[in-house]
Amino acid sequence: MASLREIKNRIVATKKTSQITRAMNMVSAAKLKRVERKHVAFTPIKSHIRRLLEDVLSSNPELSNPLLEKREVKKVGYILVTSDRGLAGPYNSNVIRYFDALVKEKYQSKEEYIVGTIGYKGYSYCKRKKLPLLNTESINSRDDVKFIDFQAMSRAFIELYLNNGVDKIVMIYAHYINSISQEIKEEILLPITDLVSDKTDLISDYIFEPSTEEVIDQLLPIFLENTLYGIILDAKTSEHAARMTAMKSATDNALEIIQKQNLVYNRARQAQITLELNDIIGGANAVK
């Protein structure tokens, strides 16, 4: 049995860890609320641009754009959304494992796909595995999400798509269902296929400045970036939820260990007292 002091040290250390995990749990809960609010506030913006785009497309059905056309898929671009930091339970490993399984199932060589990562965890994984990476440095996945953080990458991907470098762009991320469950989801970013272009309830006849083609050329990348941003917000919500749950169970586990260790400690203390009493009694008997 370990000595009394060793057990005591262990109890103190576990207690400290539990304090940290409890604090992290509370921080994540607060951040989760904040990002959830941001996500909700962003939804009308996203749908506004979508509505505009659908209006333009339905009033000009003859319009075509390479971003809207399906073509034969030879090379696929994947965007993995992970977090910058760990201690988020299975959040990052779920995304990575999903992607790994997908690659193993679908591709024979690394020539057939290219990866873009958001978040340091995904970046360091791809670098370690020597996967074909699009971004040369990690794209930050900060808690205060901003467009500028991933603009360079999204533009690079769109350009690659337009230059026939990739024929499809898929995002893999953890979709937030509720605070205890998130599921890994695949979403096709490009080509854009889910726009309704034969709407009948046109809101109005717009003038397009300078021309319809140019408006749509500029509107599509903005729409894409907004979709990407929405997905990142979704993933961010999942991250905080995952971290919150992980930290909650870590705290619970720590408390359980403390309880067990306390029992061990008391037993050891009792044993020591008995031993000392025995010594004293033995000593007293010897003197008689």
Binding site: H48, D84, S124, R142, F147, Y206, I207, I222, Y229
Partner: protein
């Protein structure tokens, strides 16, 4: 007429104005007055000049969509900054953006360092495999 400028961080501006000049690098300039026909255009990098009585404001916009309908002009942008003059608004926005980029680079270095340190510690203590 009413103008609303929205960014992902929330509403930046929502006021009654007399006239709006929209200027962008891709489309040039045009002015929108009261009772303008419904119009849609985009701004990649540009500014919006708002005239409200004697006051003039400039809002610098990055990747925005402008929609005017029934005397209500809505600008949905990815990043925007409001200022008293065009130059100061541009400067402030650029400062904020470059500061953010710098910070991101710094964070990357810090994360790489932290990961290296963690690996070292794990190796030293012999706790599991990374």
């Amino acid at each position: 007429m009413n103008i609303v400028i929205v960014t992902p961080d929330g509403e930046l501006y929502n006021e009654e104005v007399n006239s709006v000049i929209i200027s962008s690098a891709n489309n040039g300039d045009y002015e929108v007055l009261k009772d303008h026909l419904p119009i849609v255009s985009t701004i990649d990098t540009g500014y919006i000049k708002l005239t409200q009585g004697k006051m003039v404001f400039y809002v610098v916009v990055i990747n925005g969509v402008v929609e005017n309908i029934n005397n209500k002009l809505t600008v949905v942008s990815q990043d925007a900054f409001i200022g008293r003059s065009k130059e100061s608004a541009f400067k402030n926005l650029n400062d904020i953006r470059s500061a953010r980029n710098e910070e991101n680079k710094k964070r990357n270095i810090e994360l790489a360092k932290a990961e290296r340190e963690l690996r070292k510690q794990i190796k030293m203590t012999g706790a599991g495999q990374l």
